[in-house]
Every structure is written in structure tokens, then in C-alpha cells.
């Protein structure tokens, strides 16, 4: 039961984006289309999972004083790996994510989970935590992307939903649209939370 809690806490109760407000930069920047959002979520989840595993394995080996540089090193290595592997095997996704793959390094969800969870817990728990947080992040970014892509381009996952006569609400895919969307969603979640 407790293990299940580690897995699910990241999805709703401690959602990294909506509740902890971590990793907002990629969430705001890559949520203009559902396709990119899924790619970003998957890539970040992979890096999160790998870095959580390694950091919880190495936690007794890494001296406390230099733990942050060590974490950054582990995370940066995995990001570079993802970057190269994606470039070689899924060039189209690599192209559309562009600069945001290297920027996973500075996604604070990953460093945050390494510092707050993986460095204090065993491998099994860290894996569950990473999967939960990864799903939570992916879910959040995809929800925002669905709203923004629907309003801003009239499509969802590149499939036209609205008739061609619909004039897209362009502000939704511009940066301000990201802030509006995330603010409304966070407000909604807090409202539901306060009521129950």
C-alpha cells in the first residue's frame, strides 16, 4: 500500500507542476502542441527515472558536500544520452523538440526529486517516485497542451477538431497563453482541494 502511495502521490497529491510548481519553464514552453508535450514528458520521465535510480544507488558513495555537482553530472549525462539517441533514431521528434532537450538538464523536477527523494530512499522507492512524478509531469504538460493547441490552432494532436472557419485564438499558443492556462488550472485544482 505504501509503495502504491509513492507511485500515485506524484500524479495528483504532489503533482510536480500544479502543486509543487516545479519545472514550469519546460511546461510553459513546450505545451504549444500535444505531440511535442508527449515527447517532452517522455524524455523528462526517462531522465528522471535514470537519474533517480543512479542517485539512490550512489547516495552512500557521494560525499554530502559535493552532492549537487554529482547530481548535475548524472542528470546532464543522461540528457546528453537522450539527445544523441533521439537524434539518431527519432530525428523528427528531435527536430521538433529542438532546444528543449538539452534544457531538461535544468528541469528542476529532476534535481528536486534527486535532492528531496532519491538521496534519502532506496532504489525501489526511488523508481516508483520517478515514475509517479514523470506521469504527473507528462499529464500536466499534456493537459495544458490540449487546451492551448485546441484554442490556438483548432486541432488536438494535429487532428482538426474545429471547422476551418474557426479563427484560432493565437494568444493561446503565444507565451501569455501558457501563463493564463496554467494559472486557471492551478486555481481550479486549489478550488477543488479546498472544497473537499
Amino acid at each position: 500500500m505504501k509503495a502504491f502511495g509513492e507511485l500515485t502521490k506524484g500524479i495528483i497529491k504532489e503533482n510536480p507542476v500544479f502543486v509543487m510548481a516545479l519545472g514550469l519553464c519546460p511546461t510553459l514552453a513546450v505545451s504549444t502542441s500535444v505531440n511535442d508535450a508527449i515527447g517532452m514528458g517522455a524524455a523528462a520521465t526517462f531522465v528522471l527515472l535514470s537519474s533517480n535510480i543512479f542517485i539512490s544507488l550512489l547516495k552512500n558513495f557521494i560525499p554530502n558536500k559535493i552532492r549537487i555537482p554529482c547530481y548535475i553530472l548524472v542528470i546532464a549525462s543522461f540528457v546528453t544520452m537522450v539527445d544523441m539517441v533521439m537524434h539518431a533514431y527519432v530525428p523528427s521528434l528531435h527536430k521538433s523538440l529542438g532546444i528543449f532537450i538539452p534544457l531538461i538538464v535544468v528541469n528542476c523536477i529532476i534535481l528536486g526529486r534527486a535532492e528531496a527523494f532519491a538521496s534519502k530512499n532506496n532504489v525501489g522507492k526511488s523508481i516508483l517516485d520517478a515514475i509517479g512524478m514523470g506521469i504527473g509531469f507528462t499529464l500536466a504538460i499534456v493537459i495544458i497542451a490540449v487546451i492551448r493547441e485546441f484554442l490556438g490552432s483548432g486541432t488536438i494532436y494535429n487532428i482538426s477538431i474545429l471547422p476551418a472557419s474557426y479563427k484560432p485564438m493565437i494568444v493561446a499558443i503565444l507565451p501569455p497563453g501558457a501563463f493564463f492556462t496554467i494559472a486557471l488550472l492551478m486555481g481550479l485544482i486549489n478550488l477543488i482541494k479546498n472544497k473537499s
Partner: protein, 178 residues
């Protein structure tokens, strides 16, 4: 003293391990990436100058200036590459023109512009805007020209437009010599 040595050694070990793993993956993926890029470039050439079936590079001091596209040994057009720094990256474009110097097609071969905005320049809809236009006179609409910019990405559109025009003007004399 001991407090200094241990962290240093640990960091060194992690660096060496991480560095070797990355080197190995680079060694494995680099040829695939290079091959992908080569295939992509060849397809791109066919796309921007569909009439041609053979492409010959024209060089000067070992640098490829442009490609001549021909069909059954008859010259049908030229292909050149241009690149310029746009909003957040260098955008590389290849451009095909026919013998009357009208654009037959363009293709963005590499860009890292903002996903959802500037990155839309790699979509076919963007390339359509340039078809059958004279590369000497293209300008974006905000500068009073005939190329409608992408929503939220005027800088990207302007950069691509200007880079094509500038490169064409540079190469024009060389095309004419033939």
C-alpha cells in the same frame, strides 16, 4: 586534508565513468546521425528542385558554392544553401531556383526555433509561401513585401526571407556566367 581528497576522488570517478559512457554512445550514434543528415540533404535537394534528377556540386577552393540540377544532361536549375541566425538558432535553408531564377521550392534543413511558433517554419505550409517568387525581391509583409509571416514568428520568417535574398544576390553573378 582528507576532507578534500575524498570528494575530489569521488567527483573524478563519476566524471570518468560518465565521460566514457557518453563517448561510447557518441561513437555509436554519430555515424547514424551523419547518415540521417546525408539522406535528408539528398531528399531535400530533390524536393526543392523536383524537375532535376542529377545534382552536381559547383565548387570554389573546395567549398561547395551551389548545386546544378539537371535532367537528361540539360540544366534545369540551381540549388543553394543559406543560413542566418534567427530568434533562437541558426536557420539553415536550401533553395531551388529554375533557370529563369524563380524559386521552385525551399526547405528548412535545420532550425531550433521555439516549438509551436518559429519551429513552424519547417512545415510545408511555410515553404509554399516562397514558391514561384523571385528571390531578388522577396520581403516579409511587415517590411512591405510579399511573404506573409508565421503567426508569432516574424523574426524567423524575416530571417529566412532575408537570408535567401542575400545569398541569391551574392551568387547571381556566378549563375549568369554560364
Amino acid at each position: 586534508m582528507k576532507e578534500m581528497i575524498k570528494p575530489t576522488l569521488v567527483l573524478l570517478v563519476i566524471c570518468v565513468v560518465a565521460g566514457s559512457i557518453l563517448a561510447l554512445i557518441y561513437y555509436k550514434t554519430d555515424p547514424i546521425i551523419a547518415e540521417n543528415n546525408r539522406i535528408e540533404e539528398e531528399n531535400a535537394r530533390k524536393e526543392v528542385l523536383p524537375l532535376a534528377d542529377k545534382f552536381e556540386p559547383v565548387c570554389k577552393n573546395d567549398n561547395i558554392l551551389y548545386y546544378e540540377g539537371s535532367c537528361e544532361d540539360e540544366l534545369v536549375g540551381y540549388i543553394f544553401k543559406c543560413s542566418k541566425y534567427a530568434y533562437s538558432s541558426t536557420v539553415k535553408t536550401i533553395v531551388g531556383i529554375d533557370t529563369l531564377f524563380m524559386i521552385t521550392g525551399i526547405k528548412i534543413v535545420s532550425q531550433q526555433e521555439t516549438p509551436g511558433l518559429g519551429a513552424n517554419c519547417s512545415k510545408p505550409r511555410f515553404a509554399e509561401k516562397f514558391k514561384n517568387k523571385n528571390p531578388e525581391t522577396i520581403l516579409v509583409d511587415k517590411d512591405g513585401g510579399n511573404i506573409v509571416s508565421i503567426t508569432g514568428a516574424t523574426i524567423t520568417t524575416r530571417t529566412v526571407t532575408n537570408s535567401i535574398r542575400e545569398k541569391f544576390n551574392k551568387l547571381k553573378q556566378k549563375f549568369n556566367k554560364k
